[in-house]
């Protein structure tokens, strides 16, 4: 049952792990190790590019939560076709570019990429039906 769309899902999952790694590395440049390892009772806020990376990470996780179900449904129902593969590919490209667009503050482009990913997700749900 392993479809090409599932391969895209796996790649996106790994990409989110990479963003998570970058975010933790960035946080280590702003907070001391003692704070990072502690239970963080005192709330501290990440600033600048690292703060943006944190917000981009949170949005990437939400996007994964929405993207995974239609990809799994398509695979289980064997409803996948060329269109669903293209939709998944555009999602992946848009969501990868979204992170640098957020971190480097590319106003407009970030929102456009977010919209592209979201539109692909909705399209995949429709194809899954």
């Amino acid at each position: 049952m392993f479809t090409d769309e599932l391969g895209i899902l796996a790649l996106y999952g790994l990409f989110v792990c990479l963003v998570l790694f970058l975010q933790v590395s960035g946080a280590a440049t702003q907070f001391d190790m003692g704070y990072l390892l502690s239970s963080r009772d005192e709330k501290r806020t990440l600033e600048g590019m690292v703060g943006r990376m944190e917000r981009a990470l949170n949005n990437s996780i939400v996007a994964l939560a929405l993207f995974a179900p239609p990809i799994l449904i398509l695979a289980l129902r064997q409803h996948g076709d060329g269109l669903s593969l293209v939709g998944a590919q555009i999602f992946l490209i848009a969501r990868i570019l979204y992170v640098p667009a957020y971190v480097f503050n590319l106003i407009g482009l970030r929102t456009l990429l977010w919209l592209a990913g979201f539109a692909c997700t909705i399209g995949l749900y429709l194809l899954a039906l």
Binding site: A10, L14, C17, G34, L37, S39, D41, A68
Partner: protein, 131 residues
């Protein structure tokens, strides 16, 4: 049921139990009038430090499940599973279980260590579907 799917079921129940633990403590500390209200404002008194830790652990638990669930489903429903992925899936569950007391009791660096272990186990599952 493949081992990866069984581990996913246990992981979900563990998350629900953690969410329940937080809800009970939050209700006791903030009162049901606040918790059942629309929460338009912050509560008069903040959560106690242990309950706040449990809240952060719950948030992190949800994020970890969002990554783990698709990975477990991909492996569990395909022919990519094997002893390594079965072990990784159960390591994830064990790590996420230990993460809760490690966070609540402030066990540094163990909280970070078991967090990393859970993430690494997830990556093993995802990579198994790509090789």
């Amino acid at each position: 049921m493949t081992p990866e799917l069984s581990a996913l079921a246990v992981a979900i129940l563990l998350h629900v139990a953690l969410q329940g633990l937080f809800a009970v403590r939050a209700n006791r500390e903030l009162g049901p009038r606040y918790t059942t209200g629309p929460r338009d404002t912050l509560p008069e008194r903040p959560l106690g430090s242990t309950t706040a830790r449990i809240q952060r652990a719950t948030d992190n638990s949800l994020d970890s499940l969002i990554l783990f669930a698709p990975a477990a489903l991909m492996v569990g429903l395909s022919h990519y599973g094997g002893p390594i992925t079965a072990a990784a899936a159960w390591v994830f569950v064990a790590a996420r279980l230990l993460y809760i007391p490690a966070y609540a009791l402030g066990l540094a660096p163990w909280r970070s260590a078991v967090w990393m272990l859970g993430l690494a186990a997830t990556v093993v599952l995802v990579v198994a579907t790509l090789v």
